[in-house]
Symmetry: C2
Subunit: 344 residues, 2 copies
């Protein structure tokens, strides 16, 4: 097989740093420094090296580079789902930041915490981003012993970077909005609660609701609080249950938009109208929320992922300390909330 020139090398068995060094008339050490933009390389030499590298279509061998330097340029991301709105958005934010920083994203989808035992990312990542925690036991010691910076979303763990949102405040806003419209009989559909896990999301959102009711002098009716299991289907079940209460609630605060979609479905299916007969507020600002015309508490999921990635990247590259940031939420008022039916 003859080649007609170096112009279009048909996968010419990847040039090595030695090839580049030879072509540029320098040592491989100099090539390494020049290509990585290190100081102490004359500009003329650097230019020559870059030219040679370009001509040879050279790319550094990641494994050789990692082996020699100990840097992997890779961040492991552990997520329970890739298909749910919040996680998908967070991953988008993470990916954008890592990509920009020339880090690779190794994805581990882990619903039940197996990854925390087998640690498949061991020795191949410079850092780990936890979009979730092991569900049974909050044992993150394996990840901690990896010896690399770790960041966690929505959970504040000693020694880890984290990004949180004000779940209490957000839920309180949602509840206050319903109160301001004149509602008194306000139900709540909760996320799954994890008693043994430091995920405070569900508890915090409940707390905001309780706090607002209390501030308004309204007694809490435990029959108006139902678990929606974090899913659309669970929201449907919870919605059915709440519609059967007598007297029926005039408004429902739902701790996630996906569950709220289930609730809305049930309301419509029961022949009721939202918001004329009953108001609904969600939490998330899911991308379909506007399609459902759903009033909701918006949280910046993508920004949370991006920020978490930045925190961990700072630790990896600058050796800085773990950082914790709490992001704001805000109420998005759409068409599923209105004053209660006048008959009540």
């Amino acid at each position: 097989m003859t080649t007609t020139g170096a112009e279009t090398p048909r996968s010419p068995a990847n040039a090595s740093i030695e090839d580049v060094a030879r072509r540029a008339g320098v040592s491989s050490g100099t090539v390494s420094r020049a290509l990585r933009g290190l100081p102490n390389v004359s500009e003329t030499t650097r230019a020559r090296v870059i030219a040679a590298a370009t001509e040879l279509n050279y790319t550094v061998s990641p494994s050789a580079s990692s082996l020699a330097s100990g840097r992997m340029s890779t961040i492991g991301v552990i997520t329970p789902f890739v298909s749910r709105w919040f996680f998908a958005q967070a991953i988008n934010g993470v990916e954008e930041v890592l990509h920009e920083a020339n880090f690779d994203l190794v994805l581990y989808i882990d619903e039940d915490g197996k990854t925390f035992q087998s640690l498949p990312m061991r020795r191949k990542v410079d850092g780990v981003l936890l979009l979730t925690l092991p569900s049974d036991s909050p044992d993150v010691s394996g990840v901690r012993n990896l010896g690399v910076p770790v960041g966690s979303l929505h959970v504040d763990i000693e020694g880890f970077s984290s990004v949180l949102i004000d779940d209490v405040g957000g839920s309180s806003m949602a509840t206050d909005h319903l109160l301001a419209l004149g509602h008194r009989r306000i139900a709540m559909v909760t996320l799954d609660q994890h008693p043994s896990v430091p995920f405070r999301t569900g508890q915090d959102r409940s707390e905001g609701y309780l706090r607002s009711l209390k501030a308004a002098g309204i007694e809490v009716d435990p029959l108006l609080i139902v678990n929606g299991e974090s899913t659309v289907e669970g929201g449907m079940r919870a919605g059915s249950e709440l519609l059967s209460r007598a007297p029926r609630p005039t408004a429902i605060f739902v701790q996630s938009d996906e569950m709220a979609m289930g609730v809305l479905y049930i309301i419509r299916r029961a022949g009721l109208h939202c918001p004329e007969d009953i108001s609904v507020v969600g939490f998330d600002d899911h991308e379909l929320s506007n399609v459902f015309d759903l009033t909701t508490v918006a949280q910046p999921a993508r920004a949370q992922g991006a920020l978490l990635a930045h925190h961990v990247l700072d630790q990896v590259r600058l050796g800085s300390a773990p950082q914790t940031t709490t992001l704001k939420t805000h109420l998005v008022i759409r068409g599923t909330t209105a004053p209660p039916p006048s008959g009540i």
Copy 2:
């Protein structure tokens, strides 16, 4: 810092293969063979090595292993979105298979085909899975020149493995269903068409519709075919347009469930009822389709990802030839389709 025994090594600066060899009283070459389950190692030696490795909590250094062997145990996945149903499901399928095979999944989210130019996965993956193609020009030569097996979803490219579905047949089924219910004035909302790209999805789904109408002896009305831009919002726009036609169509075949959700929203918002006034069929069987009670053509997105991963893994590990598989679709009849209003 003193250690109180080898039981709970607090990140003991990662044992190397030499440490294991010393402890087991063999050479590092034997350790390598024993741990990888290669033949030509006596079972007693293997047991000794495994014991030593366990005691030292040894894990092979991926970069050293890759450098020496040339194998990366990593597959690159390029996807335009992680948040859309089809891609999220496909990624789930891919991840499961790769995880099972002990391969890492490096994720590249790439909406506009940049990845095909910069090739960030160069020299670090054993194979590439394309859940998308560069949108401007169908130039996959960069990926091809990577010199590793490539698989593509929904596009059949020479030299690549691929997984396809019968889009023509599926759309034809959907249209036939509407015809069987008695509809004659059947509109269609199309996916974005990519004239220069070998993505046949949109064209094929249109073809199935046209074929069924033709077989039924119905003349195609170009005013009843509108582009929905592949999004919920696009579906809303397309829906509005179609509702303004006179006479109004009695049914709409929508080429994706997400667009169909937009169409359903518009129908409801126009004060019309589905399916009493107008029927709608989607395509996908999106996870929210049952919430919308949407009749649709189901395609196994997760299985497609899994199968594509298998195909490429076969090429990587067995050196087998690229494989192409076409998967079936089936009609899921729910509540958005019914006979046309009797007045018509």
